[in-house]
Every structure is written in structure tokens, then in C-alpha cells.
């Protein structure tokens, strides 16, 4: 049992934005444990994406090929990756923590009698073994995880935990891996992908965004934050629960299922800073947070912050801006 296998995600030849981060994690772990690194790609377009991955310093890129893998299904991906893992016996199998990975990877690891250590934000090596760090309680608590027994061990890497620009260049061979699959083994039938609303507001173009979260308590209070946005000349955005409640349209949602923004300034009001929100705004130049809880994870990424009750702080801020 040896080697680090990074299972990367791609769509129509385009790598997922988190794919190279998990490859960087694999390269780092491989160097620390003295083990070779491999990548795997599957789905329509995998060959094209493999060329991009082959430009890094890893041993090989496996392209899993079968007509039934063209479109993603959890059954197809689990069966195909099982065959690759059985053929190559890697010690570690790493994934980016994407929605697709959440959908199939726990099933794959369970079939090996293992747990997927999901949402990994860091790691360290102790006595030759990797200890993984993952978040709990929506990012408020971290925990150290040890994998017991023999590999393969499975882990999914959270966005931003490893840097893609840390990857060292090289040239890997690309190998096709033939998969045996039968149509009857695939039980779910995916239909067309669609987007619900046309996006009338383009948050990505706004230089200043003021974003409101569940701390606002009621729809009637939203205007307080709107006034702050107006005072700053910014766009109003929100965390998911606000849009779920219909208090603001979904096109104003920031996060992994909403928009990804990187304005000059992002001001988060009454937002806790769950990872699914952070991935949508971490790239902002200056991050400001207003929250009554000094331990809220949003302060982790904030450049400036005010600990206090937003119902007092926001009006005070509007006043101060007018001076």
C-alpha cells in the first residue's frame, strides 16, 4: 500500500477551481511521507483536463474511461474508482471537498470499511503518520483526526486549505484505465442541469458589498443594512438563510451555492462565517465583520471588526460615515 492518489474534479475538460488545491495537498503529503503522487480524472472531457494536470511533478495521471462515466452518477463513479484503488492500492486517496465529492466519496470509502475524513483544513506529520485537522460546529471548533489501521485512507480537502500555486511543475505520463461497468449498475438517471433565476444583479462587479446574515432576525430589519450599503455606495448581499427565507432574492446570495465575489471591501453584518459562506467572499481585498460573538469564525478572515450588537453598531456606523 503506497502512493497518494488525488481524485480531481473536472467538467467538459475544465478543472474544478478546487482541484489543483487538492493536488497540492497530495504533493505535500507525498513529499512528507516519501510516497509517489498520482491523479485520477473521470467524466466527459477527462483527457483534456489530464493534459493540464500532467504539467505538474507527479508520477502519473489516470484517466478512467467508459461510456457510462461520461455523465456523473454516484454509482458509476464509486464503481470505477473502486477498481482503480483496488488495482493500485494507494495509501491515501484525497479529493477536493466539492458538492460532487460529498455526493459519492463517503460511499466509496464505506465500501472499503473506512471513513472519509471530510472538510480537511490542515495536517501535520507525527511519528511518520499524518494527523488531519478538520472543522466542527460550523468552523467554531477544530479537531485532530488520526486514521486507524491499514490504508487506503480517504480525505477531502476544504477550499483554501492548500495553495495551488505551491505546486511544482513537472511532466507526468497520462494513462488510460479501463473500467468495467454495466448500465444496470447505475441506478440514478441525471437530467439536464439548469439555473433557476437569471442573475439581474451582478455582485461580482460591485466594488463594495454589504452582506447581511441571520443576526438581522427579521425581514423588517433588513432596511437597516440596506441603509448602510447606501451610505457606502455598495451593493446589498446576504448569507443563505436570508435568501432561503425569501427576505432577499437568491441572486444576492454569496457562498458556495451562490455567487463568488472579491470586492474591494466586503462588510459582513450578523454573519457567522461558515465555510460555505467564506468560500464565496474570502478573496475580498478588505473584509470587515460586525458580530456580537467575539468567537464567530468570520473574525478569522476579517481585517477589521466590531464586536457588538448590530442594531446599535450599524446606525452608529451610518452616522460616522456621514461625518
Amino acid at each position: 500500500m503506497s502512493g497518494i492518489l488525488a481524485v480531481l474534479e473536472q467538467r467538459e475538460g475544465q478543472l474544478h477551481k478546487m482541484a489543483l488545491e487538492s493536488l497540492a495537498a497530495a504533493q505535500k503529503l507525498g513529499a512528507e511521507l516519501g510516497q509517489p503522487v498520482y491523479a485520477a480524472l473521470l467524466g466527459a472531457g477527462a483527457e483534456a483536463a489530464a493534459q493540464a494536470v500532467a504539467a505538474f511533478d507527479i508520477a502519473a495521471v489516470h484517466v478512467l474511461s467508459h461510456d457510462l462515466l461520461a455523465e456523473y452518477t454516484p454509482d458509476g463513479y464509486v464503481l470505477a474508482l473502486r477498481q482503480l484503488i483496488q488495482a493500485h492500492s494507494p495509501a491515501w486517496v484525497l479529493f477536493p471537498h466539492t458538492y460532487q465529492v460529498r455526493d459519492f466519496a463517503p460511499r466509496l470509502s464505506t465500501s472499503f470499511g473506512k471513513v472519509l475524513v471530510s472538510d480537511v483544513v490542515g495536517h501535520r506529520i507525527e511519528n511518520g503518520a499524518a494527523i488531519l485537522v478538520r472543522q466542527m460546529f460550523q468552523g467554531k471548533i477544530a479537531s485532530d483526526i488520526q486514521c486507524n489501521g491499514e490504508g487506503p485512507f480517504f480525505a477531502s480537502i476544504q477550499a483554501g486549505a492548500f495553495r495551488a500555486d505551491a505546486l511544482t511543475a513537472g511532466s507526468a505520463k497520462v494513462e488510460a484505465f479501463a473500467v468495467t461497468l454495466d448500465a444496470a449498475q447505475i441506478r440514478t438517471k441525471p437530467l439536464e442541469r439548469f439555473r433557476e433565476s437569471d442573475r439581474a444583479v451582478d455582485l461580482t462587479a460591485a466594488p463594495i458589498i454589504v452582506s447581511v446574515g441571520r443576526g438581522i432576525r427579521e425581514e423588517e430589519n433588513i432596511h437597516i443594512v440596506q441603509e448602510l450599503a447606501d451610505a457606502l455606495g455598495g451593493e446589498l448581499a446576504a448569507s443563505r438563510p436570508i435568501c432561503d427565507n425569501g427576505w432577499l432574492p437568491m441572486e444576492r446570495q454569496v457562498g458556495s451555492s451562490g455567487q463568488t465575489v472579491a470586492p474591494k471591501m466586503y462588510l459582513a453584518v450578523g454573519i457567522s462565517g461558515a465555510i460555505q459562506h467564506l468560500v464565496g467572499m474570502k478573496g475580498s481585498k478588505v473584509i470587515v465583520a460586525i458580530n456580537k460573538d467575539p468567537e464567530a469564525p468570520i473574525f478569522e478572515v476579517a481585517d477589521y471588526g466590531i464586536v457588538g450588537d448590530l442594531f446599535q453598531v450599524v446606525p452608529a456606523l451610518i452616522d460616522a460615515l456621514k461625518k
Binding site: P74, D75, Y99, R102, D103, F104, P106, R107, T110, G113, K114, V115, V117, S118, D119, M136, F137, Q138, I141, A142, S143, D144, I145, Q146, C147, G149, R187, T188, K189, L191, E192, R193, F194, R240, P241, D244, N245, S256, S257, G258, M265, K285, V286, D293, P294, E295, F299, E300, V301, A302, D303, Y304, G305, I306, V307, G308, V313, A316, L317, A320
Partner: protein
């Protein structure tokens, strides 16, 4: 349609969390608890399906004694009966070990549909449902916003990243993990609360479900994440804090 909904009791949302002295779990003696948020939506989805298709909704919960409160609330909202697997919670667990117990209880029920939340607010593995599907040999789909029957099977709407969705057709029996926020949650009625008192809660122990298996991971330590970024945080009175912040934004960050 026979539907089982897996629900978990977790610390209430705005709890101030402290790690316990052993660093094995949080200090939970003073906390209040509630149903895990996505599980409330899973229960709602189950109840709505039952209203349309007929059948039965059974809630399944593994947890300590106090979980009875959350189970009763689910019964008051309209679930027909409950299964409570009594387990003590004094440390962070291995989701596969827990799933094996849940799977054993589900095997005895043979439901047409199993619903779970997509992620627990405390452990946050985001995978108990998918593990269960593998253990039970059921097809599954995750991050589900909507469920409808379609012929002999179901059509579900999955949430994808960046505002995309996808419908998926699948046969029954099946397992779905439900995303929060897709519908309005119902409240328990007075009548419902009264009725809940007479509904069955079947108690099971881990031993009756094949016992606790060997964990494949060990959670060795819990801690508050160390601060990595140099933030300037103001915690003075609102007026002073606001003035300081505006000054910084104008003259240091130069963003306004």
C-alpha cells in the same frame, strides 16, 4: 409510502461553545439543544410526501436521554412513531460506527424512502446519509431541494454549486439527504402535541443492534482554531468603535 427520517439533536444555534477539560468534546452540561436544522427540513419533506402519497413517517434518532425531547417534537409535528437508539455522547465519534447502528435499525424497518439531513451542525461530517446508502445497498442522491413521485420511482432536485440545479430520476427504495431552506417548516399544533404523548418511541441499545464496531478514525483532540490573521477588532461602545472603524477604512485601508 413508508418513510424513515433520521434526526439528530444538536446544541442550539447561538450556543457559546467551550471545549471540555479532556478536549474530547464540548462542555455541554449548560447548553440547550434542538433538532439539527437540515433534519427539520428532512422531516418536513417526509411529512409532505406522506400527506400526498399516504403511508407512514418514522423518525430515527441515536442520542442520549435528552434526545427524547427532540423526538417528541417530531412526533408532535406529525411523525407516526419513533425509534430511539440510546447512545451516550461524551466524545466526537466515527460516523461509520454510528451509521452501522442506524443501518441495523433501518434494515428491520425496510422503508421505501430514507431521509437524512445533509450535514450535522455539530460533527459536520456531511456523510452519514451516503454511508447509510452504501451499507443498505440503496441508490442515493444528496443536497435535495425537492422530491416528487414519478411513476414507480421519484424525481428529485439536487443543488449543485454556483446556483445550478439538476433533476435526477431514481427508483425506490432510495436514500436522500435533504438541504435546508427549500420549504417552510410547520409548527406543532396543540392537538399534535397532545397526540405525541401517546405515540410509540421504541428504545433500542447499541448491543441490540450488533454492538459498537471498531472505529476507523480517532478524534484525538478538540480545540478553538488558532487565529492566523492579524485582525483589528474594536469592542468599545458602538459609537467609538464605529468612529475608529471609519477612520481605519478611510486612512489605512483606503477603501472608502
Amino acid at each position: 409510502m413508508k418513510i424513515v427520517v433520521a434526526i439528530k439533536q444538536v446544541p442550539a444555534r447561538d450556543s457559546l461553545l467551550k471545549v471540555n477539560a479532556e478536549a474530547s468534546w464540548i462542555e455541554d452540561s449548560d447548553l440547550s439543544f434542538e433538532i439539527n436544522e437540515p433534519d427539520a427540513y428532512a422531516l418536513e419533506a417526509g411529512l409532505q410526501l406522506k400527506e400526498k402519497e399516504g403511508g407512514e413517517v418514522v423518525v430515527l434518532c441515536a442520542g442520549p436521554d435528552r434526545a427524547t425531547q427532540t423526538i417528541r417534537e417530531a412526533l408532535a409535528k406529525g411523525a407516526d412513531r419513533a425509534i430511539h437508539i440510546e447512545v451516550e455522547e461524551t466524545s466526537a465519534g466515527d460516523p461509520l460506527v454510528l451509521s452501522r447502528l442506524l443501518a441495523k435499525a433501518l434494515e428491520a424497518e425496510q422503508p421505501d424512502l430514507v431521509l437524512t439531513g445533509l450535514q450535522s451542525d455539530d460533527l459536520g461530517y456531511g456523510q452519514t446519509g451516503v454511508i447509510l446508502a452504501e451499507l443498505l445497498g440503496l441508490p442515493h442522491a444528496t443536497l435535495i431541494m425537492n422530491v416528487e413521485t414519478e411513476g414507480a420511482g421519484i424525481r428529485v432536485r439536487r443543488e449543485l454549486e454556483d446556483g445550478w440545479f439538476q433533476n435526477v430520476d431514481m427508483p425506490l427504495p432510495a436514500l436522500l439527504t435533504i438541504q435546508s431552506g427549500a420549504t417552510k417548516l410547520r409548527y406543532a399544533t396543540l392537538m399534535g402535541i397532545k397526540k405525541a404523548k401517546t405515540k410509540e418511541i421504541k428504545l433500542l441499545t447499541a448491543d441490540e443492534l450488533g454492538g459498537v464496531s471498531e472505529p476507523s478514525i480517532t478524534v484525538s483532540r478538540l480545540y478553538v482554531p488558532p487565529k492566523t490573521k492579524q485582525s483589528q477588532i474594536f469592542d468599545d461602545a458602538p459609537k467609538e468603535a464605529a468612529a475608529k472603524l471609519v477612520e481605519k477604512l478611510r486612512f489605512e485601508a483606503r477603501v472608502i
